[in-house]
Amino acid sequence: MRITVDTDRCVGAGQCVLNAPAVFDQDDDGVVALQDPAVAPEDRDAVDTAATLCPSGAITVHRD
């Protein structure tokens, strides 16, 4: 599992940080910041939740 984020689409709702804090952060502007694009197995469910909850579709999960 690999993730990419679209910072232009991000609306700063913070759902990703709330649900997968090991993977996502918000920078000083409140915009999504990826801690590590490679997702640890134990964080996969949380990342899926974050991607589903993101109101602006800024998170894409790649299963390659």
Partner: protein, 406 residues
């Protein structure tokens, strides 16, 4: 209720014909539970449901979770209340139309909207909101102190649920302590839909706007460590737009939070096994969906939703309470179950307008429930639950009062 529209049971037969079913507006009626049981019927029908506002305007009701999310992210659908087809439910439901003052950015579409949102995001990040935790705890405790000092009974709406968000917002905006009483009383008049007359609300609104403009002028000259000063320093929002931005924060963060606090306490008293479990916050947001009628839209181009053609200029009413009780999205949706794993409710809306202050609301709810039951373990309703005055006539769902004893 208007007598000339067909009740849902007779209209149900029309799902097989080309004519979409028609239902009454207002959707909530006295004595009925919320969300209205009829929402189930609306969700089960094909396509969309037609409704007519009391002013005669036709609107489309969107009730399924998938459809609501799709409407709230569709670029052919606008949030602009100045559009002639916009379904202004508040105009017809005893609530004054929100003023289109500059900076009222929930009424703007992208990209105009985005400048405001981006400037405000840093104020409401998960980290920033966590820093507000001690201040929220102090506010909650002070309200509880006052209730305990006053005796062994209280109206939990007037004495707790409303003052908590009001005090939190005034601190966030940097309202000087000396002005907090003025600020709070005017805000209370503005958001207390039933208790205030239209004229009282107009007066309060004008006084607040004047006060906010003065506060902005003061912060321009003498910046402090507060939201207004920081926002001005970004230069992204013009001083004349600040009044709209600040009124919006004030109104959006107020009665919604209060209603969630009050209804959540009632639900916890009915399900005491969940007291002390923070997962209650997310489930309360979904279960009560107080902002059912808030995310209103208008089609600006022809658009198809769930197989139904919606013409440009037609109003769309996504019902978030209906979406949040959709069995296709939530297992046993009518059960209050804080342990559920589905978290994709739309209680805060969806898309670029999703509630900016949602993480602050979560913290206010969490601390309010926790401290209230820790400090007043004998808390109980002073009237039977079915006698609680439910708001059925406003845009938001909530309680007019919540009499409690301990």
């Amino acid at each position: 209720m208007t007598p000339d529209t067909a009740p849902p049971d007779t209209a149900a037969g029309s799902t097989t014909s080309a004519e979409p079913p028609v239902v009454d507006f207002p959707l909530r009626v006295p004595g009925e539970s919320f969300p209205p049981p009829r929402y189930q019927d609306y969700r089960d029908r094909q396509g969309l449901v037609v409704s007519y506002l009391p002013n005669g305007r036709k609107v489309w009701l969107v009730t399924r979770h998938e459809d609501v999310r799709s409407v709230l992210t569709n670029k052919k659908i606008s949030s602009n209340p100045d559009h002639p087809g916009f379904p202004n439910v508040s105009e017809t439901m005893g609530v004054p139309r929100q003023e289109q003052i500059p900076g009222w950015f929930v009424g703007l579409d992208s990209p105009e909207h985005d400048r405001f949102r981006k400037a405000l995001i840093p104020e409401f990040t998960v980290r920033r909101v966590r820093e507000l935790r001690p201040a929220v705890e102090q506010t909650v405790d002070r309200c509880i102190d006052a209730m305990l000092a006053a005796g062994d009974e209280a109206d939990l709406v007037a004495d707790f649920a409303l003052p908590v968000p009001s005090l939190v917002i005034s601190a966030l905006l940097g309202v000087p302590p000396v002005d907090r009483d003025f600020f709070e009383s005017r805000t209370r008049t503005l958001v207390a839909i039933q208790a205030s007359t239209d004229q009282q609300r107009d007066t309060a609104s004008r006084e607040l706007l004047r006060y906010i403009n003065r506060l902005v002028a003061i912060k321009q000259k003498w910046p402090g460590d507060d939201l207004i000063s920081r926002l001005l320093a970004t230069g992204a929002i013009e001083p004349h737009e600040m009044s709209g931005v600040l009124m919006l924060l004030l109104i959006a963060g107020h009665e919604t939070t209060a209603n969630n606090i009050a209804l959540g306490v009632v639900t916890l008293l009915q399900h005491p096994e969940w007291i002390g479990d923070d997962r209650v916050v997310e489930e309360t947001l979904r279960f009560h969906s107080v902002a059912d009628l808030v995310s209103l839209r208008v089609a600006v181009e022809d658009v198809e939703i769930s197989g139904q053609l919606v013409r440009a200029g037609e109003g769309i009413v996504p019902l978030v309470a209906a979406a949040n009780h959709d069995a296709k999205a939530f297992s046993c949706p009518h059960a209050f179950d804080p342990a559920r794993t589905e978290r994709h409710h739309v209680a805060f809306g969806y898309g670029v307008h999703q509630c900016l202050g949602q993480n602050l609301v979560r913290i206010e709810m969490e601390i309010a429930y926790r401290r209230l039951f820790e400090r007043i373990p004998g808390l109980r309703l002073a009237v039977p639950v079915e006698e609680l005055p439910l708001k059925y006539d406003g845009v938001l769902c909530g309680l007019h009062a919540l009499p409690v004893r301990w």
